[in-house]
Symmetry: D2
Subunit: 413 residues, 4 copies
Amino acid sequence: MTEVDSQITLALVPRYRHQGYSEEDVQARRRWLETVCSTDLDELAHDGLSTEELRGNIENPVGCVQVPLGISGPMVVNGNHAQGQFYIPLATTEGALVRSYERGMVTTARSGGVTVRVIDDENSIVPVFHCESLIQALELCEWIGENFAPLAAIANATTQFGCLIAIEPFVTGKDVYARFRYQVGDAHGMNMITRATSVACQFVKSNCPVVLGFLVTTGACSEKRASGVLFSGGKGKRVVAESILPAGVLRTHLRVSPEQMLDMWHSTLTAQLHSNSTGYNGHFANGLTAMFIALGQDVANVTNSAVGLTSFSMTGGGDLYMSIVLPSLTVATIGGGTGTPTSQACLRILGCAGSGKALRLAELVGATVLCGELSMGAAIASGEFAAAHERYGRNRPHQIQASNGMPVSEVSV
Amino acid sequence: MTEVDSQITLALVPRYRHQGYSEEDVQARRRWLETVCSTDLDELAHDGLSTEELRGNIENPVGCVQVPLGISGPMVVNGNHAQGQFYIPLATTEGALVRSYERGMVTTARSGGVTVRVIDDENSIVPVFHCESLIQALELCEWIGENFAPLAAIANATTQFGCLIAIEPFVTGKDVYARFRYQVGDAHGMNMITRATSVACQFVKSNCPVVLGFLVTTGACSEKRASGVLFSGGKGKRVVAESILPAGVLRTHLRVSPEQMLDMWHSTLTAQLHSNSTGYNGHFANGLTAMFIALGQDVANVTNSAVGLTSFSMTGGGDLYMSIVLPSLTVATIGGGTGTPTSQACLRILGCAGSGKALRLAELVGATVLCGELSMGAAIASGEFAAAHERYGRNRPHQIQASNGMPVSEVSV
Amino acid sequence: MTEVDSQITLALVPRYRHQGYSEEDVQARRRWLETVCSTDLDELAHDGLSTEELRGNIENPVGCVQVPLGISGPMVVNGNHAQGQFYIPLATTEGALVRSYERGMVTTARSGGVTVRVIDDENSIVPVFHCESLIQALELCEWIGENFAPLAAIANATTQFGCLIAIEPFVTGKDVYARFRYQVGDAHGMNMITRATSVACQFVKSNCPVVLGFLVTTGACSEKRASGVLFSGGKGKRVVAESILPAGVLRTHLRVSPEQMLDMWHSTLTAQLHSNSTGYNGHFANGLTAMFIALGQDVANVTNSAVGLTSFSMTGGGDLYMSIVLPSLTVATIGGGTGTPTSQACLRILGCAGSGKALRLAELVGATVLCGELSMGAAIASGEFAAAHERYGRNRPHQIQASNGMPVSEVSV
Amino acid sequence: MTEVDSQITLALVPRYRHQGYSEEDVQARRRWLETVCSTDLDELAHDGLSTEELRGNIENPVGCVQVPLGISGPMVVNGNHAQGQFYIPLATTEGALVRSYERGMVTTARSGGVTVRVIDDENSIVPVFHCESLIQALELCEWIGENFAPLAAIANATTQFGCLIAIEPFVTGKDVYARFRYQVGDAHGMNMITRATSVACQFVKSNCPVVLGFLVTTGACSEKRASGVLFSGGKGKRVVAESILPAGVLRTHLRVSPEQMLDMWHSTLTAQLHSNSTGYNGHFANGLTAMFIALGQDVANVTNSAVGLTSFSMTGGGDLYMSIVLPSLTVATIGGGTGTPTSQACLRILGCAGSGKALRLAELVGATVLCGELSMGAAIASGEFAAAHERYGRNRPHQIQASNGMPVSEVSV
């Protein structure tokens, strides 16, 4: 066994790290960091974030970072929880992104808006139980089925908002994986259901003699990862949105025809199938990331939320129908990072601050994502994609002609 | 054809939106938004971001959002470009994340550090060319092969840093998809290679008679999406890192044995295979997202960067070997969002500000990701996972016992 | 519109093609084929297949092909439906395959046999219904939920053995996909449930006003394709098998240690993750194909049946534990090709001919697949893989040394 | 350690098993099997397969199985190696399959035929080398690059037809995986390249000091498994085929319009994306399996060969364009099972017996697969899918109406 432990002198972050959330502690930590890194870090010191409020959101705080915030809209939404015109806050440093979403929003608005619904709303975690054999693993499956009521009572006692609605076990040999499915209200809920499931697993271990041990999570729920299983639901909100774009509106606002959009869809879809993509979409990740940062969501959840489908087809009347599916959207309006001052401000822009607003937020995210798919798809189809990044991004000026020979106007992406 | 265009009165974002990056413009836009949304948005007004600098990074700016920044370390790195002790800036609101990465860093530091290398470094984009038939599509493939030199000259003339190194066409019928592979230096490079490829495609269309049209991008490169093709390389940097953890260090710092880690790996791997995950890892997305926000990276690229592999095995001497592979890490030290004041500060913490630093940054990201995999894996294996989130997160206090019956100490995640 | 129809003179297969299943018809068709192809086809004429019995299994029959049949065993099985020693018929032309499975069988037999269970047993088909809008699509979902009873009655009336147990709709915009889940008894059941679902869909279309049309199948069930959704079950039988291999037995019979097997598993697993494999296994397809051909199964179903998991781990006592999961095994003992004379003979070898035997057959397939995984894995781990193919295959003799330097014995694969 | 070895009395297959390929040996083995299984197995005894010829194709032979053979055509092919009208032998027991492919063939023939090309033609195997560390693993990668010439010489010396064209290493930590890419001529080549690579690996191990050991295969090449990496090529032949179907021919022969076909494609594609299918196609597996059994191919290779793409689009003139891609078709005209009497007869039907014919066979398989996609797609689109299986399959008669209300004619599938 190697023994290197004693041979390295580590400069640990000073002792006030964990306890210290006062303005002084944060500053002292930042000063210490300036010394060990030999650099000035004044840019990280900002008012606004009361440091004591950071407790529970971060450890070893040294300040905060700033991300530019743009506004995109108006977007006309026909949802169950969100109806009317909305302006979407997008935090990003990718030039052209805000403008691109905006032109998608204006185009759908001119077409009657985006219809959107949240279909399912759950969260799940999948612990594993170790048994001696396949036979005993199957006994455990049966035991879980017979003991759902006490398990639910125990799990639900740990949480005010969560509710265990099903346990679905499957075996892969002598191990039993059990999907614990919960309703989590307006919270993200991952910590909530981890705690609840942990207590339930303890109960299983104590009461079912075939259980040798357990791990409270295995990743089978695909939290913060891209997996095919996300399409089966159970990880966040399933959101579906649609819009019908009249050919005339498309031509005026995006300079494309429905036929060009279908050709673009065909080509990009084929390309993604060939690349073994999980699902198909243009750039769900862009809009999701910018909204998640602005709205205090757990941004790492974009990894699972960005798995989904975008679809285009022709209507009988020669217009363009489009829809998007977000099978696994993870958003919340309470808990996590939603409480920071800037998150609260952004949530208020959408009327989504506080309890009872998560479904409304999910609808607005779904509608935004659709507008982004429309806009980028149209930029590709019209041949303006490269030129638009040129105009709004940080590229040095360079002569570009749209692939269709058209002049590239201001609103091209 | 539907005609809804004229029936809706849209409150467009005022006209000063695109041109206006002065402090006054931003404030006026924010005031306007306050009015239409009937809310106060003072939290979004901050010093620090000189608004004029936002040009090229955002449109319709109304202010900026703040994300708490923690520091995690020290991490001992043995790279080609990064060597020594490092403190990693992580911007997040997920309680316990910074602490979890820190304990992974300290544990690997006590074990001799993380060895890390950048194996490949490219970026790519895949346009599609439409032809009349399969036969003509194959002619185009041949034409591209014969005309690489002029195409490269044309593409490279559009960029100071990028260099076209290969064009790899494939047909799926009458369409030709062509992977344009570039070296992009220290920049992200997507806009750069889009522009270069656009010009090259124009040349193809003008000079090869079988080409009917083209789309400059199809998504086959898997930019900002999770796809299997990412393992084949060509989208960003391929980074591999390893560490050997002596059993004694594991026991002391993480309260697990190598055997427990292997069991955890086996269980979580099986779970993810069963869920049809793309690759396998614990939570690459967490560390990547927190670093990307802090360091001004394009955060939406976490979607492709988080696809990768984590692996554990036993050494002959009974210690734990671990490695991670990031086949598609997209990081930059110039361009994009790296120029904001807080990004610059965070890059300086790592000695990664400016040109010539992208490989160093990639090594530090790779090492950080490895430490996160170690820490979360150990928390799951030791039964402390739920309790750790309890201690550091925003959950209301609740009695939890680690699944192994051990008391949960301060450093549990 | 192109008009090429009339310009080609096609030599259609003669008119007796569809009606003709008599010995004379088959012979006449073969003679005709000999003429148009200018070749002698006597090899295709065989006794044994009474041609009239071919009706329903094939059209345009010209004879039959012969595939060599080997026997592999004994395999000791501890199932719910199959218990004792079995000899498995394998139809193949791949040298070494039968011998490889046999040595896996003998090794597991010497270790106490294979425990195996069928966990689930269903079949499914997923039609799509077209609606006008997302709103109407959701109305249809509700309508289906409210009308399950009459739909089940209508579907079940079309079949003697099938039973509709659930309809699970999901929307992707204005379309509703509905998973129709059935129990199908001992039959393959795909034709059965296609018919039943077709009638049910007609009922939906006639009675639910929002339905504009439907397609009876969409492929969402992954029949005869490899898809991630197969792990969720519902397409055939979910079979799990396990065996514990004492280190001594492994050494004697397969010349490997448990540690070598774990290393092999680790390496091949990593390789397959890197290749974006659906699931992980060594060569399920080999055993499944050879059994399916021998036993009159629909061999194209190997495509879905071969998706699954193989897993190895160490027991506390230093022995090797292994398990396999076949989430989507499609086997039958009645209908389809099970009625041919040679299929009946092979089914009788297993005691699986006729009604009430499908679960027994599924257990035997599961156990066989496990033995194949053990044998090939051991051949790779011991370094005898190449040499074994040399000995039994058609390669010309060539000097090969096992990678571990050991002499390659008779039983090496 | 468990000791069960001695406690079971196994009835091993008698000693004449391996050596015995004479008529008497086969018969004796079959008689023995009849005794232990208490059943008569006369159906398995057939003339035609000279048992001595089985050596190298099977072990423990007890006879052979028979699979019905139908003929489908004419198919008009415009390939590089196959041109004119062809009749395709299909061995299957799935009623309606032959008829379905035939109507696709006649329809494409009436439309001018199928254009098809083989784009690439390789085979590969991926061994793994174990090293001490990531640093040494990278040294090995370099060593391999520098020693390609001697490695190729050594590998190529083991084979008459194979030729090593590249070695592509990648690391995942301290292990090096190396893709050995070969040209294999008209053979399947897997045994050939396994042998060649084994010898090359021995050379690496003997000459490169950082190599601790190796495994000759890891599965990264996706032989006999469905994986995303197959789209990148290198496993068998990449085949692309296309056909343009005039709207009038579609209507006459398949009773569908191009618009209906596009709608069907849209729906089934969306369904498969939602199911996380690898690639997209209707039923490649059906045609491939039936051809592979008839033609003595390694049928287990359908698992990788059936991964591919089917695509439909509208031409400018309102006709239907379709194409298919088989990125990984594994076919051979010499070696393996191609030498059995019935395989030889079937190969002769296609003019594909013997050396120099593999590319021709690949083209014919590609064209056949396209015709199958057209026919099944049209049956689904026209609403005749269920009824067609009814007519030709073994279902008991039952009243079915096509979903479009049309009468179901003879040629419906």
